[in-house]
Amino acid sequence: MSAAVPAYLPRVAVGTGTAAVLLTCLVGVLHLPFAAPLLRKLSPASLCPITHGTPAQIDRAHAIGGAAIRASATASAPSRPALGFELDKTTRGDLDAWAARYRVSCEKIGGNENLRRCTDVPASAVGEPPGAGLLEEVSFELRGTGELVNVETMRRHLSPEQAVRIVAEREETIASGVGAPSKTGGEATVAHLSRGFLSSYVAEHTYLDYRATVSATNLGETGVMAREQYLSVRP
């Protein structure tokens, strides 16, 4: 059974193993933030994009969006509902406690500590009526300084009837807190959402420090997608 092992094999194995470990370390080290400029020089983006954003990059993307949103607003929001979370106050620790309380499974988004996505979230965990069913995703974004700035939800595979019920209920709840939407498009009706691919309804409530958006979009075979977003746009 024991076949003779050529004498050079262990040396080759050790050599290959060492080379593999060294290479892995080198690639790992090159992906550390301080080595990013070097990696960019060595590797064109089309071969190896570095997409794990630093907290500063995540904040920068948020700041660009926030500034553009504020540009179309005229007043501060009378209140800033966000599915029971407090924008600019809720912390990562609060989110962990919330996830544990509702037995929700959450993970970092793309290895970024400040972006977090939770899947199959019961409606009751975000203060929605239990009949609203599971949310496919609830995602959060925290500022580099640790406070929550964005809560968003997604449900897909909905029938137009389900989507209309959900967006009408969500829109009513938001409007009762902050008033009528600043912009709407399409209709929250079964007839409109059934018209065809990408037929949509959207209501946006835009303020100098807050934007809430509710939308429904017909995705053809994937059914209707309903989304909500609650965003702090404070500078």
Binding site: A36, R40, K41, P44, A45, S46, L47, C48, P49, I50, T51, H52, G53, Q57, I58, R60, A61, H62, I64, G65, G66, A68, I69, I109, G110, N112, L115, R116, R117, E136, E137, S139, F140, E141, N150, E152, M154, R156, K183, T184, G185, G186, R195, G196, F197, L198, S199, S200, Y201, V202, T213, S215, T217, L219, G220, T222, M225, R227, Q229, L231
Partner: protein, 205 residues
Amino acid sequence: MRMFKLSVIGMTAALALSAVGCSSSDSGSSGSSGTTGDSGTLSLYERLGGKSGLESFVQSVVETKILTDADLKTFFFAQVATPIPAGSPSAKQIVVCFARFVGTALQADTYPGAPVNDPANTNNPNHTCRDMVKSHRPFLNIGTANFDKFIGYVATSLMPLVKPTATKAGEITQAEFEALAAALNGTKGDIVNPGAPASGPFVKP
């Protein structure tokens, strides 16, 4: 190959849009997608604001929707890095390319056209717009749910422009909306990587 793909999308959009023009639907389309509308009416391209209007529209979608989305923003970290890595366009260059892409589908612009200049993108100040496969599929690893979110944002940004009779700037008909939707969806096969996780953030292919 690139020109073939684009002309298919362009033809789909143009055909759909010219069908709109021929229909007697009460949606009141001008029926023309290109730069000149029927006598006295504005073409769809003109109602979308022409080159600068389309660029502002795309910029607003990118800034106020895509960059505020917790998942989608992870695909654009090259654009918020300093400097932007070699090979990647800046947000400004993407906006110009995207607007050109839509303009070309409406037979009112040319893709890829001249290189797009952005001196702030020091590694790539003159970016030549790439086709949809080259600029997405091999390295962005976009799954279906992220594609859905992305076109959802485009759709919900276009939807407020839809009016029963669209004759003025900033107005489009439902039928024109549907034609644009079909043209956007036509890019799915080029952009989505079939092996990518459907949902979630950027993951290396």
